[in-house]
């Protein structure tokens, strides 16, 4: 396996002190590998944003160490830290572009800070804008762009210093589903083309499922689960993970133990195939939709559904076979965790 680029050991962050102290993060240990797309997911207030800000030391951890590309970030002076931040850049939910500068000048900005000669910076900025598909917007101002275009400019800007790591703090949360997919595809492409490690912070499970290879689930300031996305999603073992993985916050434990529950993911098949209806008509099997979170993105079905299978084992097997035979749909049985 490839070597690690970000190592976080025993990291804690406490805001305030005494009785008013808020423990935002407690004893976090993470190991993010070079070149992967790593997801950090959690609900609001779980500490995601604090954690990502501890990676580039925008927040100074109360305890523990953060090592980025072999450099102990917590031990650096302010000046050294500013230099180190060129290697671990960030994009934001609110884009945070300079509104009084053209797109080109926005992308030039980090290079200007780093004293890259202006001509060289502009050349690179133009290439980066081409790379994110906005070559024609170089002289436009951010106010003239859509949300998705703004985020593309922000991505180009973040890549200007040739970073090793790109931190994405809820980068798609302000965008509509179609734009979200296009930004995620861009991040995937950049990861593949440039080899940049991407850390994605989000509260949207669909984002993790779309691009991440590994994921850490954050709850109440601690990492409660970590591993390959497929594993975590098919077998979430903690309550926090289940809340995130199962659509609509469904708690399968509330159904009778005899119900077999399956989770199906729509991975971009056509949104116009009525799966549940065809199941009923073609097999004569009636399934129960326990929860669903599906969206139609550009005519493609994306999302997940939790189905309760009939109690009759023959019928259940028939339904399962039928669904498994569908294209662009993955099925997992939800393991029984009734106590």
């Amino acid at each position: 396996m490839s070597e690690s680029i970000i190592q976080i050991q025993h990291l804690s962050k406490t805001f305030g002190d005494g009785t008013e102290a808020v423990h935002a993060l407690e004893d976090i240990n993470l190991d993010i590998r070079q070149g992967e797309i790593f997801g950090i997911i959690g609900l609001s207030g779980a500490g995601k944003s604090t954690l990502v800000r501890c990676m580039n030391l925008l927040e100074r951890p109360t305890a523990g160490t953060v090592t980025v590309d072999g450099q102990n970030m917590t031990a650096l002076s302010e000046r050294e830290l500013r230099a180190a931040r060129r290697k671990i850049t960030m994009i934001f939910q609110g884009f945070n572009l300079l509104m009084q500068r053209t797109c080109l000048k926005n992308v030039c900005f980090p290079m200007e800070i780093g004293s890259v000669p202006a001509a060289q910076a502009q050349k690179r900025a133009k290439e980066l804008l081409e790379l994110v598909g906005l070559g024609d917007k170089a002289q436009a101002y951010p106010a003239q762009l859509s949300g998705g275009q703004k985020q593309r400019v922000a991505i180009a800007r973040a890549l200007a210093t040739e970073p090793k790591v790109l931190l994405c703090d809820e980068a798609t949360s302000a965008l509509d589903p179609t734009t979200t997919i296009s930004i995620l595809n861009l991040l995937k492409d950049l990861n593949r083309q440039l080899g940049v490690t991407v850390v994605v912070i989000t509260h949207q499970m669909s984002v993790i499922e779309e691009i991440c290879s590994r994921v850490a689930i954050l709850d109440g300031g601690s990492v409660v689960e970590m591993g390959d996305v497929q594993e975590i999603f098919s077998n979430p073992t903690t309550d926090a993970a289940r809340r995130l993985v199962y659509p609509g916050g469904v708690v399968p434990a509330q159904f009778p133990a005899s119900t077999r529950v399956i989770r199906i993911s729509f991975n971009g098949g056509t949104a116009y195939d009525p799966l549940i209806a065809s199941l009923a008509i073609d097999c004569g099997v009636k399934v129960n939709i326990l929860g669903a979170d599906t969206r139609n993105v550009g005519g493609k079905a994306i999302g997940t559904m939790l189905l309760g299978l009939p109690e009759d084992s023959n019928e259940a097997a028939k339904a399962l076979n039928y669904i498994q035979a569908q294209k662009n749909i993955t099925v997992e049985e939800v393991p029984d965790y009734h106590e």
Binding site: R82, R85, N96, L97
Partner: protein, 249 residues
Amino acid sequence: MSEALINLFESWGIAKVPEQIAYLSDFGTLAFNVWETVYAPALATLFAYMIGLPLGIILVIGETGGVRPMPKALMSVLNTIVNLLRSVPFLILMVMVVPLSRLILGTSVGTAATVVPLTVAAAPYVARLVEISLREMDRGVIEAAQAMGCSPWQIVTKVMLPECRPSLINGATNAAITILGYGAMAGAIGGGGLGAVALMRGHGRNQIIVMYVAVIILVILVQIIQSIGTAWSVKSDRRINPTETKRRT
């Protein structure tokens, strides 16, 4: 024409009309008074920004959680000084800084001497105006700049000031107009300009036409400053006026 004008004013029962018309017809005197009204506040605005701009920046970046936190004691001293200077009425402040004018300029009378009290009064006002503009700054953009490795100095010069430019221009317009008003008031303690004309000649010698003309010219001056300031602010704001720069790169 002026004969008819004199008859008209006299028919309204205004005294000393010919004398007033004669005074106002002397273009040189009037122009000189307009010049005095403009140059002292203009200089004072310039000096007030030389003090108030850095002070306003420090008030924003120096606070706890700011871009470059400074000792709490220093911040409270600065805030107190600004508040103290702002709470002294201008007429009283003018009298209080007479020794300072004497020290700097060797005199405490004349239009030039009003630059000193005007600057002292305007600098804390400008500091607050700058502070207000810079506080409008999106925290997220500053955070992004920090994440890119900007030093506090770079954040001020390359992010905060350029991003707040339209708001800073509006503030400067506001400051210039306020200082112009203060300058007119300075006529009361021996400054020159239209304020002095309106006060001494118009009010003091009961030359009511002169008073109104002086006031109308002041109003026009304020209108001009406001129009230029607003137009400049709007033109420079790329959020509402995203004209593409034509410069070849």
